[in-house]
Symmetry: C2
Subunit: 328 residues, 2 copies
Amino acid sequence: YESLKSKYKELEGLPAATKDGEKVELMANIGNAEDMEFVVKSEAKSIGLFRTEFLFMDDEYPDEEKQFKIYKEVAEQLPEGYVTIRTIDIGGDKNSPHFDIAAEDNPFLGYRGIRLCLGEVEIFKAQLRAILRAGVYGSIKIMFPMIATIKEFMDAKELIEECKKELKRENIEYNDNIPVGIMVETPAAAIMADAFAKVVDFFSIGTNDLVQYTLAADRMNKQVSYMYSAYDPAVIRSIGMVAQAAKMNNIPVSICGESAADKTLLPVFVGLGIRHLSMSVSFIPEVKWALHLRTLEEAEEIKNEASVFYVKKDVEEYLKKVSEMLYI
Amino acid sequence: YESLKSKYKELEGLPAATKDGEKVELMANIGNAEDMEFVVKSEAKSIGLFRTEFLFMDDEYPDEEKQFKIYKEVAEQLPEGYVTIRTIDIGGDKNSPHFDIAAEDNPFLGYRGIRLCLGEVEIFKAQLRAILRAGVYGSIKIMFPMIATIKEFMDAKELIEECKKELKRENIEYNDNIPVGIMVETPAAAIMADAFAKVVDFFSIGTNDLVQYTLAADRMNKQVSYMYSAYDPAVIRSIGMVAQAAKMNNIPVSICGESAADKTLLPVFVGLGIRHLSMSVSFIPEVKWALHLRTLEEAEEIKNEASVFYVKKDVEEYLKKVSEMLYI
Ligand SMILES: [Mg+2]
Ligand SMILES: [Mg+2]
């Protein structure tokens, strides 16, 4: 372990890139402003995923003013980068005292994420206003979770426009040019990625939910968790469709699920065209190290080889084998 | 209504086809042998979906012998066609006293369909043996529900081979050439349709679950049921991918979900290349009538027009408009 640490140290200060210099941005995931302590000490310049729902799990409701301060505080600490604020992603297995969520037979297929926010317009608009205002003090992007239809995205964007009008009327400063993107985590969003790419400013692939919905397997359910895997060919194909749509429409695409830090899957992601990965800061040094061991061409070859397999186990065995060859 | 009935009567005895004679087979869905009473009176020559799980909802366990008699009885009543027997599809919202299913947080993403059968090998094999034996007396196809991976299909097929070996050893007659196909109802199966098409004998698209998983929306949940729709562009695209993979690999593909009887979606399905639809027999006359009102080329044009829209409401409005033009 000590020798690995010294290997990571050798790369400090250098940009995260493949052996031949193809840059891949490694960003940080955070859940609150306190997490910034670790981000500023890390090599991450940007936040690829700020999970704001944690702010809504406290008993005290985080009003617009409180949120504004938090988002401002985070954005100000990223002078060379930006923070991607994911709007409230409550529902599913995440509860909040500020939302009235009825018991559901299948909460993961229920009233959650953007669906809930579009139904709780006042809470949602307070968040959007806080973000628009904080955008004056630093670079911010807005990201909607659980988007399944273009209509949802359009409705949510419309609410941003409403907030802007209100702020203007109230003479409150806000940033008029905040990029607005979506999490790709429903199969519908992946399948329609080319259509979404024409209207969104960026994609971020949420592998945790995407795997779950694509395979129709609840990852918390022990009896089907054996099926749950980002190595499944259907998942890799979905990520490829999204990356391709982003490329064709010239918009950024990142991965922000747990797999973003998976060094064994890394060449596949890079080979598919992913150039942004967002993860817990603790994983950044090792992913950066694994990244620099191969050229882009080698990553593309591995991606091509892996795409030949139709069975998850074969994909996994192949990728583990090529990883072990480099002692990754 | 009376005038519609007389319109349907005019087509009696004629094959179900488009205006220019492109045949589309209209098959029946059944849940038990008693349903055959209505099938034999109808124009359906085949059963596209025999939901065998209903046999397992009674307190009395339907052993191999009992199932054999039922499958034989059904198959013998279809001299010009075949019966597609879907293997036990328990779990999700369907329970059975013969399976021990633990409470699940998200049963629709849980231990159900083929997953459950692969875990309850003795019950599954009894069913497979009964089907193989009944296949001597009539034309039968085997269909597995909830397939998400090629591995599951291979494992299930392996169990069929085991059953054949056992029957041979026991000197019991069976049909060695029963076609084996899958329900396409998980996004994974739709996305990997080209790979599946190389190993399965046929596809049947189960729109009910496919819609639910693609959009990550439980159709029983009132708060998200507004999202649940086979008119969603992501669903139509998925059906198109499956139809295309079937065509390229020269295997039959049918639709057996509720949408199979949707006269408004009919031109889209026909335009996408679907030539088999399975439904409640009561819908057959009206679907047959709607089918014969347009040429194949007209259906293809409607499919092309509908594919331009990225929002469900636009798809729906367009299709309703073209339906109303023909008083469908
Ligand atoms: Mg998610
Ligand atoms: Mg189903």
